[in-house]
Amino acid sequence: MKILYFAWIRERIGLPSEDITLAPEIKTVQQFLDWMKTRGENYEYALEHDQVVRVALNQQHCNDFSSPLDGVTEIAIFPPMTGG
């Protein structure tokens, strides 16, 4: 699984991306985020405020964190977008 981080979430984690093999019990976006927070202080800090964490699965916005990860090969985590 390719994981990408952007903006201040990237800065807090300290990495732009990672390749991770997820444990089979991680089946949903929420489970993935919960597990991420256990990976260290930097992850916990980056993801501390649920309401400003946005997720894209295979480059598509995911608005429902109960969504399954079936078929997902790329997860991106980022704060609310501020383009334009």
Partner: protein, 153 residues
């Protein structure tokens, strides 16, 4: 027939005049052309530059999705969206949307719709760099941008 939008995500600057020319040249049945240009503001003279981070791939895909929706919703003849990334100085271009139609309101609405969705749904993030050498916060998303988007639904 719905128009096929043209999307460009690029680091280099764009030339509005050239883009307008390309779209309207040799066309004799357009009627209405609306362009929106978003520029970097200097925040009262304090800003050195904005740094625009983007999610390559998804940025193009999202802009294309948004623009395609606009083309389905209004009778547009052309729809061009250019969004820059990287460091951008005050007064410089960030984003360009050009919509053309036989109908002026369609051209206005198409361009405005793209801008509203782009602000909230396109994966770009802005960080402020100040002239005193400090790097400011990442620009925060605004509630009113969500509201601007939601008025279209």
């Amino acid at each position: 027939m719905t128009a096929t939008p043209i999307i460009r995500v690029q680091e280099q600057d764009f030339d509005i005049a050239k883009e307008l020319d390309l779209i309207t040249k040799d066309q004799t049945n357009i009627g209405a052309v609306v362009s929106f240009t978003g520029l970097c503001r200097d925040e009262g003279g304090l800003l050195e530059a904005l740094e625009l981070e983007h999610y390559a791939g998804m940025a193009d895909a999202q802009l294309n999705d948004i623009a395609t929706q606009a083309c389905q919703r209004w009778p547009l003849e052309h729809l061009l969206v250019i969004h820059r990334y990287g460091k951008i100085s005050p007064g410089k271009n960030i984003v360009l949307v050009i919509a053309t139609s036989s109908h002026r309101q369609a051209a206005f609405d198409g361009a405005s719709f793209v801008m509203d969705f782009l602000k909230t749904d396109a994966p770009f993030w802005k960080k402020e760099h100040f002239k005193d050498g400090t790097s400011g916060q990442w620009v925060e998303a605004k509630d009113k941008d969500d509201q601007a988007r939601d008025r279209w639904s």
